[in-house]
Symmetry: C2
Subunit: 478 residues, 2 copies
């Protein structure tokens, strides 16, 4: 086969994968919106069938041959990224027989249900027998995939193929070394940040107007996507030119509403900005990084709110007439500790993530028996946040990640903070006056189709800690 036809076949292969992804996305969208009451079972079957088809295509000898016949170094940006991802991803897939993968998914569904039961009883021991089985699977997968230094490396690679224990240990250690002293200094600050205004109720139609306006402001293309009202916030890519955002109306907390809006908006910009050829080549940490970049670093930046606040205030005069732009900026960035990860902001999230990361690492090393987990969890959270875990539901049972087969998610999310801060620093350096439109443009040019797959080892994490230092010392005058 000639080089030319190898390349054409690769392009067709990428379009082929994108077609399956499009079908699956549409089924998911339909499940959330238009699907009839009785449609669930048949749709679930169809999703299972198409997922198997994708697995079979990806692991076939023809695909292996095609992917090996192309040399990434000779390809332009999006194809290069896609090929690099696929070469790694299919190699990993071929190591896990489909029947094992299916059996694991069945087990994960059981575990998720046991987790719900355990939540009702506020008791980790109800969940533990099922969790033990998932842990056994993690060890099994690590052996199937193989690893060089650490069994957890094999699991981390599901989220980013270059993520390793060695690199993540370093990143977490750097973050902790900055965040702990910073929290201490904030605690002793004399400056009081106003936050009360966040709890004014903004009528639904005004929320909808603001959501549309901010999405336009940050560059969301409404000809290639739509915004709908939904019960949970989500972004769903039907295809590159059809990205659908769902946002709930927020009862009484504008900060939550804005965080949702910028997070989904950031995800949507990423999906609109990158090439369709990369549809199936995205890591967890990459998507998380874009969400964080927009929901935290840009969506809560002084420079965004300096420019936008007047329009915002005008939309909800009752709530914000007496709140200055600076007060608003400080309020939405108020530092707070919480034993619930989801209630923590960018300052203390990484500490929560580190707790989960270290426990998973211990499990993968065989050093942490699951019966010791609740105690270890409470101990580590106490050290990280200074707060006492009162019971399992506010501790080890607070999230579903361990029940839904997402080992390694916390590390990926922590790396996403580091990645987002690095981009943010670079784009600030590149622009005379930082602004949202310029940010999207910069990302389109340098990040979305990037073939380099930056790995945790390439970062020292200092961009993130510098960012935290700058922001919080200024807000708290410390």
């Amino acid at each position: 086969m000639s080089k030319q036809s190898n390349h054409e076949e690769l392009i067709y292969f990428l379009h082929r994968m994108a077609a399956y992804e499009q079908a699956l996305s549409l089924m998911e969208w339909d499940a959330h919106t238009m699907g009839s009451k009785n449609s669930l079972k048949t749709r679930t079957n169809a999703i299972e069938v198409l997922t198997s088809e994708i697995y079979n295509i990806l692991t076939s000898p023809e695909t292996e041959e095609l992917l090996e016949a192309n040399d990434p170094t000779t390809l332009p940006a999006p194809e290069k990224s896609a090929l690099l991802h696929l070469q790694t991803h299919t190699k990993r897939l071929r190591n896990i027989p489909f029947k094992d993968y299916q059996a694991y998914k069945t087990q994960a569904a059981k575990a998720a249900s046991a987790w719900s039961d355990a939540r009702k009883k506020n008791d980790f021991s109800v969940f533990r027998p099922q969790f033990d089985k998932l842990v056994a699977w993690q060890h099994e997968f690590a052996n199937m995939q193989g690893y060089e230094e650490h069994p957890y490396d094999a699991i981390l690679a599901n989220h980013h193929y270059k993520m390793t224990v060695k690199a993540m240990d370093q990143l977490f250690s750097n973050m902790k070394d900055t965040i702990h002293p910073l929290m201490e200094r904030i605690k002793h600050s004399e400056h009081r940040v106003k936050t009360g205004f966040q709890y004014y109720t903004i009528p639904d139609d005004q929320q909808a107007f603001i959501a549309n306006d901010i999405l336009k402001e940050i560059g969301f293309n409404f000809n290639s996507g739509r915004l709908d009202h939904s019960y949970q916030p989500f972004t769903l890519t039907v295809q590159e030119n059809d990205i659908r955002i769902g946002l709930p109306y927020i009862e009484e907390n504008i900060q939550t509403g804005l965080t949702n809006l910028f997070r989904e908006g950031g995800h949507a910009l990423f999906e609109q900005g990158r090439s369709a050829l990369l549809r199936s080549a995205t890591s967890t940490s990459e998507i998380e990084a874009h969400k964080i970049l927009w929901s935290e670093l840009i969506g809560k930046s002084q420079v965004f709110w300096d420019a936008y606040y007047e329009r915002f205030q005008h939309q909800a005069p009752k709530a914000f007439a007496d709140v200055s732009s600076d007060e608003f900026y400080e309020g939405i960035n108020a530092a707070k500790s919480s034993i619930i990860r989801k209630e923590a902001n960018e300052l203390t999230q990484p500490l929560h993530l580190q707790v989960r990361y270290e426990l998973e690492k211990g499990i993968m090393e065989g050093k942490v028996p699951t019966r010791d987990l609740p105690g270890l969890w409470a101990e580590k959270v106490q050290k990280a946040t200074g707060l006492t875990v009162p019971h399992d539901n506010a501790g080890i049972l607070q999230e579903h990640h361990w029940a839904t087969a997402q080992f390694g998610y916390s590390a990926a999310k922590a790396f996403a903070y580091v990645q987002a801060a690095s981009w943010y620093e670079q784009m600030n350096d590149a622009m005379d006056t930082f602004n949202a439109a310029g940010a999207h443009e910069w990302l389109c040019k340098y990040v979305y189709d990037d073939e380099q797959f930056p790995s945790p080892g390439q970062y020292d994490g200092r961009a993130f800690t510098r960012y935290l230092e700058n922001k919080y010392t200024s807000i708290y005058r410390i």
Copy 2:
């Protein structure tokens, strides 16, 4: 491979095909409803990719082996039908290389565009060069597929695998022998049928109420489907438990509105009633027959309107207060001649279909040069309807079927009238008092999953002509 596992594999294969069909249907639905402005091109690509995947699966040696390994005579009803269909269908598909099929579709797209241009100029000769190429393809396909008696048989088999020139000639001849004398007698009838009330405007919300109510009345399950407002009437099967009907509001002709409603409702009942395993095993004539059964034979029957009219009248008292049930029934069945097929009703539609059928047959025999078509068309329509074709747009250019690769459609639709009338006669015989709910039940039991694939040769067409005789002699007192 054991018999047991052959059977299991067949079931999985049918579910696999259904999953692809579901994906494609959803993309079509999305194109009509939620898809963003810029989504067209990528969706079109995805549809092409998935269509190719289906072609490749259906024509693969593994599929051939699987379908041959199962014996239809040993299978229960829906699987038997599905297997019979697939065995025939895949054999035909394997005779046409995919690249030829694709080239034909590209040619058909060009022809459709030329047809639009020709319509603008009201001139068949503008369309003819493109049409000639499609005709050449028909000959090509007939040779690829092979045939025993007549080259047109190979084309007719695309719509129903047992449809032949021999059988259709007989059916058309019987229909004509009844319809012509019947029309003559109606022309000389003294009885005047009121039709003016059809043109009262019914407000949109009342139309929507009536549509919902009639759909419920005839057995449409709203937990397994939905009704939406749309610009064109359609029925789309996302899957067996999710059938979506779209209906436009009708400005000033209740007869058109009711015909749309019963036609789509009938299609939807068929889709809700049959097994999911038959998803990819449906002939054009089968669907048309269900549409006709409900839109004409049941939806315009005296027995339906005797039972329903009071409720209907109550919904739109302004329009129907002074119209009796009998007057209404007669009005919606008024006999009328038209040179436009779509404006003709059950009484004269078959004559229009026969004109197209005979011209296609002549083309396939190589006896009709396309330059003679406009003249032949006008001549045959004059004979069939007594009306003079004033120009190409009201004649040979009136429909897109010849421009969109639907050779054989007219024959399939004519056979559908015969099939529908045969069912109608059988269900009337089976019920003490005919009613819509009973009709749906009867169809579920005897027709939807039927493995017999009744062929045109099994019918003499007399059920249809008997039905016409009974109905119109009674309405026109002749």
